[in-house]
């Protein structure tokens, strides 16, 4: 069994003797080592968060090197892995959304957008002349027709599922564990609540306001400040409050959430003191992120 590839890993169009395609697995590794991207489906919307490591102190961090992009009025994408690969996916998604509206006269439904992206990503795993995308994509979108919001994630292999909570990148294992504890899976929210299935929505008991805080907490708790470079926390949402439009979370809300998160982490930690050397630049006020 050639678990190290040994010759079967040179192209996407080659199967190994045990039926694996190593190029796809290597592409997934590229994502595993990258900054964490999280998505949470809440009762009243979806929150996306990406950890953007700052490679250079001279960077204008807040507005460049974006990892969350608006694709259509009611749809947004978060990418992690090779961000330049991710940018190609974003461009394609924008084309798909715009073509769909031109052809059919309505906004592209979330499932259709995700299916189109996944078919596109999958195509690059078929040809020997191409390589797979080294990026995972989280799609947050709202369908004005069915009034339902949903979160999907597309991996480098082209596999696409709908999620209550999705995580990709370095901290995904821990993030998944934390997300499972939140009440986002309607089947597991206590039936007495009666709020498990919102009218035509779905999403559990947690709201977007909570979601922002929880994701900030997850990202901050994954960091080892002694070892990791400084980073910028990008967050966006689409929710009832934003009119279901995909927008950046206002900076003061992020700053607030980060403060809360840090306090929670500190309180939860046994006897550590972690709030010294993290050089985030989230500052209150300033412009709302717009695409």
């Amino acid at each position: 069994m050639a678990s190290s590839g040994s010759g079967y890993d040179l192209s996407s169009s080659t199967f190994s003797p045990d039926g694996r395609i190593f190029q796809i697995e290597y592409a997934a590794k590229a994502v595993e080592n990258a900054g964490t991207a999280l998505g949470l489906r809440c009762r009243d919307g979806i929150v996306l968060a990406v950890e953007k490591p700052l490679v250079n102190r001279m960077l204008v961090a807040k507005t460049t090197g974006r990892r969350i992009h608006t694709v259509d009025e009611y749809a947004g994408l978060a990418i992690t892995g090779f961000v330049s690969d991710g940018r190609q996916i974003v461009n394609r998604a924008r084309e798909e959304a715009s073509n769909y509206e031109e052809t059919y006269g309505t906004k592209i439904p979330p499932e259709t957008l995700s299916a189109r992206i996944s078919t596109y990503v999958h195509y690059f795993t078929l040809h020997g002349a191409l390589r797979p995308f080294g990026a995972s994509t989280l799609v947050a979108a709202y369908d004005p027709g069915t009034k339902r919001h949903s979160l999907h994630m597309i991996e480098p292999s082209g596999v696409c599922y709908e999620y209550y909570g999705a995580a990709a990148g370095r901290g995904r294992q821990l993030a998944r564990t934390e997300m499972e504890k939140l009440s986002i899976n309607p089947a597991r929210v206590a039936s007495g609540g009666g709020e498990g299935e919102g009218g035509g929505g779905g999403g559990g008991a947690i709201t977007v306001a909570d979601g922002v805080r929880q994701l900030a907490k997850i990202i901050h708790s994954l960091r080892d400040d002694a070892k990791d470079k400084p980073f910028e926390l990008e967050m966006s949402w689409l929710c009832e409050g934003s009119g279901w439009k995909h927008q950046g979370v206002p900076r003061d809300v992020i700053a607030d959430a980060v403060e809360w998160a840090k306090k929670e982490i500190k309180d939860n930690a046994e006897d550590e003191d972690d709030d010294d050397d993290d050089e985030e630049e989230e500052v209150g006020g300033g412009d709302v992120m717009e695409e």
């Binding site: 080659t14 199967f15 039926g19 395609i21 990503v121 078929l126 082209g158 696409c160 209550y164 997300m179």
Partner: protein
């Protein structure tokens, strides 16, 4: 490219023994990639497909994990293998079916669709630049002239009609189970076909199921629609099977 002398292992060319290794590896990927087993049966006037529903983790919405798809309102497919390849194959099937109906003015018969997908699969076994799709398709529908049809299309481009067919990890065990009952299956009603399919899956996997752990889809009668059974309907069948077992 590679200086490996086993070039025939890397792209779709013949080995000195006349084998196509890449195609064989594609078969392996199709049967073991997802770890699932799928079964399709045809009764006297109906077709049934059954497979497991394995949700990868608790954060995934279960309804988005499905291997059973509608191609047209009357033809369905159970696609097992690499998930993204399955998705691509189903997309292509939908396109082919719609294109056929647009060009010729009537709904594509299941066998014609199967043949088309088989031809497309064969192309990849002859070209160096594209790999075969690691998917086994079980196409089901009720043909206007020939009645219920189950067709199996594999990565090599074979397609054959079956009374009962299986795909995936436990294909051989399921086929053995069905072979013993093939004469009876031909005459089964819808309920009998569904229950036989579920019992077959249960016996090869060595376990019982709940309604949420399997997917069952049916199409019955000429002009019948291909549809998935709800969890309640599946539970009804499971209860009936349990009662029969006790009786």
């Amino acid at each position: 490219m590679s200086r490996d002398s086993n070039y025939d292992h890397h792209i779709s060319i013949f080995s000195p023994q006349g084998r196509l290794y890449q195609m064989e590896y594609a078969f392996k990927a199709a049967s073991s990639a997802s770890g699932l087993t799928g079964i399709a049966l045809r009764g006297s006037d109906c077709c049934v497909v059954v497979t497991q529903r394995k949700v990868p983790d608790r954060l995934v919405v279960p309804s988005s994990v499905s291997h059973v798809h509608n191609v047209t309102s009357r033809i369905g497919v159970l696609a097992t293998g690499m998930t993204s390849d399955c998705h691509a194959a189903v997309q292509r099937m939908r396109y082919e079916a719609a294109d056929f109906e647009f060009k010729y003015g009537y709904a594509i018969p299941p066998a014609v669709l199967a043949r088309r997908m088989a031809d497309l699969a064969q192309v990849n076994t002859q070209s160096a630049s594209m790999r075969p799709l690691a998917v086994v398709l079980l196409i089901v529908g009720v043909d206007d002239e020939r009645g219920p049809q189950v067709l199996k299309v594999d990565p090599a481009g074979h397609y054959l009609p079956f009374v009962g067919a299986a795909s995936g990890a436990k294909e051989q065990e399921a086929t053995n189970f069905l072979e013993k009952r093939v004469d009876d299956i031909r005459g089964y009603t819808l309920d009998e076909t569904v229950r036989t399919a579920i019992v077959c899956l249960g016996s090869v996997l060595g376990s019982d199921f709940r309604g949420s752990e399997i997917e069952v889809a049916i199409v019955k009668g000429k002009g019948g629609k291909f549809r998935s059974l709800t969890e309640e309907e599946i539970e009804e069948h499971l209860n009936a099977i349990a009662d029969d077992a006790d009786a």
